[in-house]
Subunit: 149 residues, 2 copies
DNA sequence: TTCCTTGCAAACGTTTTGCATCGGT
DNA sequence: ACCGATGCAAAACGTTTGCAAGGAA
């Protein structure tokens, strides 16, 4: 296994960002890596940490999330809710969100990336980043549980 | 003038939505119509209303915004801030946002609309709506005022 | 030992709600 | 006259911050 996500790697990533290697930061990073497509709110993280026996204060979680975001290890999303959803940083990608069950699907589309560049040029705009989110119904069988949070 | 935005029209729109035609709702609608490309926070609306001699409580503004949104007369945007920005509902369009000065530019692009449909189909997804926001620098001369709010 | 990190509680800013009053219809 | 709409104040909510105690280097 030449996994990119060993504990060693995380230690290096944190050090590189000038952050001390603490239990909280490692545990949080590991959760993100355990399900790379999942989106986590601060609250959800707190619950998951609690479930695995780690009691970490919400304040710390918010602080860590901010730091990991600045270190470019995770990405913050402001979807339609009042809560921010974080996910591990990957190459450019966007989201489909089911308005019935809240399910989030990620996708990558290079045509989209190109189109964004074209549009930016049209407005003499220097593109830094983007967000694109499609809302609709996922048409899955198990789209019955309303808003899994 | 065969304007679509007479007071008569607004009265009809409100009635159609099952809302009483009150001073607050009319004034707020008029502000949105006076600058169709502008984006307003609840706070900003309160200030503008105050400037024109209308003192309307923030609670009412939020209630009206929610109702106008449900009536499909305005649209709510959750950009990167903590505040929601509302604008009058137009045909599909998206945003370029300057990360330096906060300036918001609207654009419409039919290629984008088509591409969204293609992507949705790919995931067996029934598209209802979308959000696309490009962040970058607007390269305007007057891009010096940091974050005009 | 140093300074960063954490927990707790309190503060914060935005949005929502309860309730009495007001105003369309 | 009825019932929805409003104002005010208080509550709720997610997030941030101050401070004292704890932990990595």
């Amino acid at each position: 296994m030449t996994s990119q996500n060993t504990k060693e790697d995380n230690i290096n990533k944190l050090k590189k960002a000038g952050l001390k290697v603490t239990r909280s930061r490692c545990k949080i990073l590991e959760i993100f890596q355990s399900s790379p497509d999942e989106h986590y709110t601060a609250d959800k993280l707190k619950d998951m940490l609690a479930d695995s026996g780690e009691t970490i204060g919400l304040a710390t979680i918010y602080r860590v999330l901010t730091q990991l975001e600045m270190a470019d290890l995770i990405q913050k999303n402001n979807f339609d809710d009042n809560q921010s959803a974080y996910e591990i940083k990957k190459s450019h990608h966007d989201h489909l969100i089911c308005t019935k069950c809240g399910n989030i699907i990620e996708f990558v589309n290079s045509d989209l990336e190109n189109l964004q560049e074209r549009i930016s040029k049209e407005y003499n705009f220097s593109l830094e980043s983007h967000v694109m989110t499609l809302f609709g119904n996922c048409n899955n069988e198990n789209c019955k549980h309303l808003k899994n949070k």
